[in-house]
Symmetry: C2
Subunit: 398 residues, 2 copies
């Protein structure tokens, strides 16, 4: 019987968490992993419900085959864990504060000790080697403190299990998509020559957090990106206090977020009369998007979407040179992608119903840029469904 001191507002049903745990254990089995240490905050949340901005210190979820998972982190964050995870309060372990950001102690010493006490002195231990929050030092400290363990690279093991979304998850993404639409509507209304960029971002962030009647707004895993003019060649510039200007295009890369689920959505606004180069790029891009959506069917492969997109762009003389999308769903900063499939020529992953992607064929040329994108759901049959419902075009404001 699980013991809980606090009432919880778990985002998902018990059945949903049990499905996720079952899938994860099966994936562990396939790689002979006895204990899995999950440090990616998105994976931690997906498995347990844990939700807090504590990923700037070491923490993790341990998954076992024969007992409920364990949440492990800084002592002061155990208070957040017992309020947000579905497991018993007894399954929440905290390490002492002197381990925090101390060059002479490492939290992995505490983790190694706990595993040993639990009877795992020499486990086949899976860790996420390629992860923002599992540092090289964490790896070395774990090796040193568990000399008998066999470390198995379990990078993206859980991420792959997240790929096909449940109905409950798709419902969250639809709520996020309503927020994305609201943000884009607000941009169209407010972007004018002379208006400072930070003021427009202030208004759309307000819109995003207020949310819609269907759901309150959470913070997105990436802040709005909105470079203008020549700067739009650079996909990841944020904003400043400079005004929007006539004769310039700005692309807006944004996402609504509902309880950590995202529906990224990008549109471009041109102030004034777009030169021919924008008009022809827009036409080729929209044609490519439509071809890509049609190729985004269960049974096709990730590369089929990329190839469908590439054909009209190539005819227009545009070579992108970057992948054109990635899976999306639950996420924490710094990225809202799942880091598994990439929509590119080399990726032959077969598409399944319930997979969700940000189909993101941004054009970043040497001194201009254009983004028109869709968040999509692979259906049982037929082409992909777009989460957002707004005209697929470059918006022009005179």
């Amino acid at each position: 019987m699980r013991q809980h001191r606090f009432q919880k507002d778990l985002p998902f049903s018990e059945a949903e968490y049990q499905r996720r745990l079952r899938q994860t254990r099966a994936a562990m089995d396939r790689r002979g992993i006895e204990v899995l240490l999950v440090t990616d905050p998105s994976n931690m949340a997906w498995l347990t419900g844990y939700d807090g901005w504590s990923f700037y210190v070491h923490q993790g979820v341990l998954v076992f085959h024969d007992r409920d998972p364990v949440w492990w982190g800084r002592n002061q964050d155990t208070n957040g864990a017992v309020r947000t995870v579905w497991m018993s309060d007894d399954d929440v372990f905290g390490y002492a504060d002197p381990y925090v950001q101390n060059t002479e102690l490492h939290p992995m010493e505490d983790l190694a000790y706990r595993l040993t006490v639990m009877g795992y002195e020499a486990p086949r231990l899976g860790v996420e080697l390629e992860n923002y929050y599992f540092s090289a030092k964490a790896y070395l400290a774990l090796l040193e403190n568990m000399p008998k363990a066999t470390i198995v690279d379990a990078t993206a093991l859980v991420n792959w299990e997240r790929g096909v979304k449940s109905r409950e998850e798709i419902d969250f993404m639809r709520k996020a998509a309503r927020i994305s639409e609201k943000i884009v509507d607000g941009l169209l209304e407010r972007v004018e020559p002379g208006v400072p960029k930070n003021e427009v971002v202030a208004e759309i962030q307000r819109d995003a957090l207020i949310g819609t009647e269907e759901g309150w707004g959470d913070y997105a895993a990436i802040v709005p990106l909105l470079p203008s003019g020549s700067d739009a060649a650079a996909p990841h510039l944020t904003w400043d206090g400079e005004p929007f200007r006539k004769g310039e295009a700005t692309f807006f890369e944004i996402s609504g977020c509902f309880r950590r689920y995202h529906a990224p959505f990008c549109r471009t606004i041109f102030l004034g009369d777009p030169p021919d180069i924008f008009r022809s790029a827009e036409a080729a891009l929209v044609e490519g998007l439509e071809a890509g959506l049609d190729a985004a069917r269960a049974g096709n492969r990730a590369c089929d979407i990329a190839q469908a997109l590439a054909a009209p762009l190539e005819r227009a003389g545009i070579e992108r040179g970057a992948r054109c999308g990635y899976p999306i769903g639950i996420s924490y900063p710094p990225d809202w992608g799942e880091r598994t499939i990439s929509l590119r020529a080399e990726d032959e992953t077969v598409l399944k119903p319930g997979m969700t992607f940000h189909f993101m064929p941004g054009l970043w040329m040497s001194d201009w840029g254009l983004e028109i994108t869709e968040s999509i759901l692979i259906k049982d049959s037929g082409p992909a469904e777009c989460f957002c419902n707004r005209p697929r075009q470059m918006y022009v404001k005179q």
Copy 2:
């Protein structure tokens, strides 16, 4: 002669960047480091001016003794780099897109190749082993591809050089502090029983990004934290759509941000009549803060602040068990601390004029919490200066 294709709006003077580079090279010398690979985005920005939300892929700055630093990252982000760094466009290196989030290739292969071509086949190479964005896998890929290199742990080497702020940096932090004050003023005005939390966050995020007459608002490295009632025991919970309630305290942990510089500031709002336990905790905490500010003098040590704070709290029967502060300045998600000094009993670092801290003695008890904090500047003489100027108290609204 440096070559730049684009006009730049560098946040700092050439002299300031040269000071930073000089200090970093001296620190490299002390540890016998020939080439330093800096992957912490805050360190990258501090050294070069680079500013973009691209830290979700591998990137870095290489610091040498005999030539300007090199910015290295994903091809598509070189467009952002040539627009934001002070070095020549030629010092910006990009790796091809197939290296991105690909399990069979790693960007560190590209980095190793470039170093070799530059004549560094067997360098003493400093890397930030304990860093969010230098993964265990990046370390292993670097070892594999540079078998003759001697890897030196340079964790926090640059962070330590950031400790003492220049006048230019302090000016940015003062601008951030004006934004922090505006956020707290907005909270006091808006927090009422029945108002949903996400709506209040929406309004204060708008305030934060609009900024003040002194400067436009940038995104803070941490989103607002604002747990209420029993949840305030948990320092890192974000918000939801639930209303504020009468009889509950909520602490607000926020920071204004101006061009990536922060001035974190926390206040607590109690709706209704606070019980005695809050009143006595508030009195002890304010007394402790004032004792700590008085101890925060050049020549004293980090632990002196912690001990000055602890005495009145102990008299009130409150044992905190966590550090009470950390250095602040430039930062990117997920943390606005510098991860060097900790204000705690074990840290004997001597305080110097120009150091800046978030003096952060949060009280997180088992089922309540209270935060009253100050961002501070160590002066040439006398007690610390507070960046923000608002009453040091728990706010009570009837």
